[in-house]
Every structure is written in C-alpha cells, then in structure tokens.
C-alpha cells in the first residue's frame, strides 16, 4: 500500500464481548479507500460481528473504529455514512422497488421527487428500471439482490458493507453477481467491505482479504498472498485444498530449510521467520504444484504408489500412497494431460514437487 492512500476504515484494537463470551479478540486492521476488502472465515469466526460493529448495530466493547479519520464507535447506524447490503436483503416488503431505493435519500432529507429521480438512476445502474413499480416479492432472488445493492448505494455511502449477500443465490447467478459486484465497485469508487465464508468468492473479488477464525485475525493480505503464502495451519487448510504434512526441521541454510517427514523422506523449502531448527511443524503443499513421473524429475521427488484417481471435471485428483509416509493428493489439470502423466491405480511412480511449492506453517 502506498503511503498517501487514505484509510477508509481503521479498526484499532477493537474487542467485542457478550457477557463472558468474547466474540472478537483485539482486532486491528486498516481498510483503504476504494478497496474491495473481504472478511473471510467460517461461521462464528466474528466476521459478521465486526461488520455490524462498523455498521453501528453492535457497540464496541473496547477499542475504536475510525471512518476516514473520525471515530464512529458511539454513533447510531443512522448517523453513519455507511450502508449495508443485508444477507437476506431486508427489502421493505410493503414498499415498491423504487420506494425502497429512494428511502435512504428521503431519510437524509432529500425531497421526495429528487430522491425518486436518483433512485431511478440507481435502478438504471443495476438494470432494473422496468421493475421500479413492483413489490420486492415479485422479483427473483438475483433481482432482489440488485435492488438491495442499488438501495444501499443510492445515498452515496463512504463505505458499503456487504453481509454474505450472495449466499442465497444459486451457483451460476452467484458467479455472475461476483463479477457485477466487482464492476460496480470500480465504477462507483466506493470502498466495499464484503463478508463471506466462501473462500473462492473471496479470492475472485477481493483486493485484500482478512482471514478470521475464532474471533482473531489469522492473516491479512492479497488473494495471492493468502493462497500462496499462508501463515498458519488454519489459513492453509481453510483456503483451497492442500497437503498438510507433519515435518521436523533438520537444517536451515541460505534461506532454505531442510525437513524430513515420516519414513525418512526429505524435502526442502523456503525458511520462515519464527521456525527454527528442530521445530516440529506442518508443511503445506498445494496439490496442483505436484506432478507425477516414471523417474525423479525434480530435486524434490518422492516414490509412491497410486491408490485412486478421482475425476472432477476440470481436473483429475490422484491419491498417492507414499512408501512409509502419509498420503498425498496430486491434482492434474485436464488441459495439462498432454505433458503430465496419469498413472493407473496400483502403479509405482514418483511425485515431484515444484521448487517453492512447500510452505512451512506456524501452528
């Protein structure tokens, strides 16, 4: 991040407790102006709580939240220039689509006709102008979703909060909406804070992702960072598929760590700060960073036997039984079948690891 980019939302050591239960343990993070920022984590990790604290529906037990430099922790939701797209949309059922979209602007004191005019423009933006006079119940799920978006964007909030807005849509519509959301964010230049438990959705849309678990921030970074360089077990396991191997670190030399795993197999990978010689840690290797061959083809090559091939459409997943070691998952893209080999179950072969594929994790 460059130094002169403004910070849209600054969460400083925010804590949320409900009685004895701590929902959020001392979180600090800065969300930049014009950023598509995602809070990612399993249900109950505290991501929605954090979002609702920013929106003003939950108060902050300790710490502070700043919106473009102003502390907002004490303000009620109707005093915050922040709008939310709710998980179930919460479109007012007794109002038309147009009335829904105009509502926020009317509440901010704009005249009825002015608000309606602007609402019409917003409906243009989400291509729903012809549905302006309908009731929300007469729209499909995807259309309701777009009305909710238009309604939240219409008062020109400084930050838009999206609480799992796509979770109610089917897969195809979800994919289309992911792109549309991304476009809308670029077009409007508004900071989006998006909450989801779907890692694929997060990777597709976000500029940066905060991975959360059990009320704590696990890792903050770009989608590539998070996927390629997970910090810890949780992030590696939660994002994508991976082989998690128990290893002990034997030596560290010139930024490379030499480790061994059960059965005496030896692997090397980049050293990580905080993991010293003698540590027993986990190594993550993404299955698509492995390939199979008749004879060793890389510096890191392990002998094994094919247990099973599973066809999953775009890929073939192969489960490999390593001699005296753990099972490995290897993924071969179907488009790669020209230069990468698939072995029949029972065949002996070597599993090769691309350089830099292994990643040591703190627990």
């Amino acid at each position: 991040m460059s130094g002169d980019t403004k910070i849209a939302i600054d969460v400083r050591e925010a804590v949320k407790r409900y009685g004895d239960f701590t929902a959020l343990k001392t979180i600090s993070l800065s969300i930049m102006d014009n950023e598509f920022f995602t809070l990612l984590g399993p249900s109950g990790c505290g991501k929605t709580t954090l979002l609702r604290m920013i929106a003003g529906f939950e108060d902050v037990t300790e710490g502070a939240i700043y919106l473009y430099g102003d502390e907002i922790a004490g303000l009620p939701p109707n005093k915050r220039p922040v709008n939310t797209v709710f998980q179930n949309y919460a479109l007012f059922p007794h109002m038309t689509v147009l009335e829904n979209v105009a509502f926020g602007m009317e509440m901010r004191g704009r005249s009825k006709s002015d608000a309606r005019k602007r609402a019409g423009e917003m409906l243009d933006l989400v291509q729903l102008q012809q549905f302006a006079a309908r009731k929300p119940s007469q729209l499909s799920g995807g259309q309701q979703q777009r009305v909710a978006l238009a309604r939240a964007l219409a008062p020109e909030p400084k930050v838009l909060l999206l609480d799992e807005p796509l979770s109610a849509l089917d897969l195809k519509l979800r994919k289309a909406m992911q792109l549309e959301l991304k476009h809308l964010q670029r077009e409007t230049g508004i900071t989006f804070i998006f909450v989801t438990h779907d890692q694929e959705e997060a990777l597709t849309m976000s500029d940066r992702i905060a991975v959360m678990s059990a009320g704590e921030l696990q890792q903050l970074g770009s989608p590539t960072d998070i996927y390629e360089r997970p910090h810890n077990m949780f992030v590696a396991d939660f994002i994508g598929e991976t082989n998690l191997l128990e290893v002990s670190v034997d030596a560290i030399k010139e930024g490379r760590a030499t480790c061994h795993l059960g059965g005496g197999h030896e692997l090397t990978c980049n050293a990580v700060d905080g993991i010293g010689i003698g540590s027993k840690v986990h190594m993550s290797i993404r299955p698509e960073r492995l390939y199979m061959s008749d004879s060793p083809a890389e510096a890191e090559s392990l002998k094994g036997r094919v247990k099973e091939n599973i066809f999953v459409g775009t890929d073939i997943t192969t489960i490999v039984d390593l001699a005296d070691g753990p099972d490995f998952t290897v993924r071969t893209s179907n488009s790669d079948r020209g230069n990468k080999r698939i072995f029949e179950p029972g065949a002996e072969m070597f599993v090769n690891m691309e350089r830099g594929a292994g990643r040591l994790l703190v627990d």
Binding site: G56, N78, F92
Partner: protein
C-alpha cells in the same frame, strides 16, 4: 394426502369424530338461526318462514331497551378495543423489540393476568375495587373493566405478528438514515398492521360478548346487549331473543372472518 391402503397418519373413526365435533359445535347455532325465522308465536311449532321477530326486535315493545343496550355495547366495544390495541401494540414493541430485561417475565405475567384469573373472580375483584374507591357503577366502570381484559386478547396476535417480522427490516431502515421513530412508523407499524387489525377485532368481539364481568360492574338500569339478553332469557326464551342472537352471531362471525383473512395475508412476503 396419499391414498395408500396403509397410511400411518390415518386412524379409523377420527374423521367421523371430527364431523361429529363440528355438528355439536354448529347445531345449536344453526337451530337458533332457523327458529329465529319461525312465523309461529310458540317456540315449538314451525309455521313457516317469517321475518316478524326481526321486525319485533326493531319495533316491538322491548325494542327501545335493546337499542340502548346495543348502542352501549358497541360504544364500549369500540373504545375498549381501541384503547387495548394501542396499549398492547406499545407493550408488544417493548416485549418483542426491547431486548432481555428483568421485568420481562413479570410484564408478560401481568399482561396475561386477565386470562389466568377466572372470569367470575375478575368480576368480583373489579366490583369490589370500584366499590372501595367509591366509583359509581355505570358505563364508565364497564368500560374500564373491558379495557383491562381486552389487553391480552389484543396483545397475543400483535406480539405473535411482531415476532414473525425479522428485525433486519428496521436495521436496514436505521442503516439508511431513518431514526428509530421513523423505523417504527414507516417500517414496523405497516408490517404489523395485519396483527394489529386482528388484535383489535378480537378485543372488540370479546368486549361485545362479555357477560359475567359486565353483569357485576354495571349499574342498575345500565344494560349491554348480553346483560339485556340474559335478563330476558331468565323469563324464558322468546323468539325475539333468537332474532337478536342471530344478528349478534352474524356480527361475531363477520368480525372473526375478517380477522382471519387479514392475519392470513402476509405482507412480508
């Protein structure tokens, strides 16, 4: 419904009992309705259709008494039901949208108290109370007593309705710069309307129908329809009573039907 020869849900005879149940429930009402159109002076003999008893209700010697009683009944029912509905709506908002608080269970107990105390006991208590504070028995005492026991009848459908409305609508309104008052009047209240109407109608019917409490707290010479009918019946059932009963029955059925249709209409979908 499946028509399998073996339906785990179906028990022989249950259908018959259900129809018997309906027959028992409706037979007296149907019979009275039919006999209210009897041309005969005597109760027993059927002498063909006639509207003479309805004419008698409106023009006969007792018509003045019943007209006054009916006016009293309707005025009391309208005021009592309106007041109870307003109190119940406010109370339901606190109970359903007011978070957890210590007095919540106690408040619910207080609201449902008129349902838990047997009617005759409530009648005695109210009479004693008015007597001890020196309030003369009359229309006012009837009205006050009716407001009290109408509250739970208005409260139950209203609070049930409010529980069915997700609070995300109000949160969305707050998020869109509405104040809490605006979120209440512009969002919650319109969504609650079916519950409020049905609460009002039930309270109205309960007030219109009440006999026992009214009989205790009414002053001498002040009558509502049920007490006037009771006084008349004590001297024997007369055909004009059946005509009045049929009219009152019609009012109740119309009100309950409206209440049912309104509450069925879910304006959140």
């Amino acid at each position: 419904m499946s028509n399998n020869s073996f339906d785990i849900r179906a028990y022989t005879g249950f259908r018959a009992i259900t129809f018997l149940c309906l027959a028992i429930l409706y037979a007296p009402l149907v019979v009275v309705t039919i006999y209210s159109f009897n041309a005969s002076q005597s109760l027993t003999n059927w002498e063909g259709l006639s509207l003479r008893w309805y004419v008698e209700v409106f023009t006969g010697p007792e018509s003045a008494k019943f007209k006054t009683a009916a006016r009293n009944s309707f005025i009391i029912a309208i005021i009592a039901a309106t007041t109870a509905t307003i109190l119940a709506t406010l109370a339901a908002t606190a109970m359903v949208r007011g978070g957890k608080f210590r007095l919540r269970t106690l408040s619910f107990g207080l609201i449902s108290l008129p349902l838990m105390v047997p009617e005759i006991v409530l009648a005695v208590a109210t009479l004693i109370f008015f007597n001890s504070i020196g309030l003369d028995r009359g229309l006012l005492t009837i009205l006050l007593a009716h407001i009290a026991f109408c509250i739970p009848f208005a409260y139950l459908p209203i609070s049930a309705r409010m529980q069915g409305i997700e609070d995300s609508y109000e949160q969305a309104a707050l998020d869109l710069y509405a104040t809490k008052r605006q979120a209440f009047t512009k969002i919650l209240l319109p969504l609650m309307m079916p519950g409020i109407i049905s609460g009002f109608l039930l309270a109205f019917i309960v007030s219109l129908d009440d006999f026992i409490i009214t009989n205790f707290v009414k002053g001498a010479g002040v009558e509502t329809l049920p007490t006037a009918i009771f006084g008349s019946v004590k001297q024997g059932i007369k055909p004009n009573i059946m005509a009045i009963s049929t009219l009152l029955l019609l009012v109740s059925i119309v009100m309950v039907t409206i209440s049912y249709l309104v509450s069925k209409k879910d304006n959140t979908k």
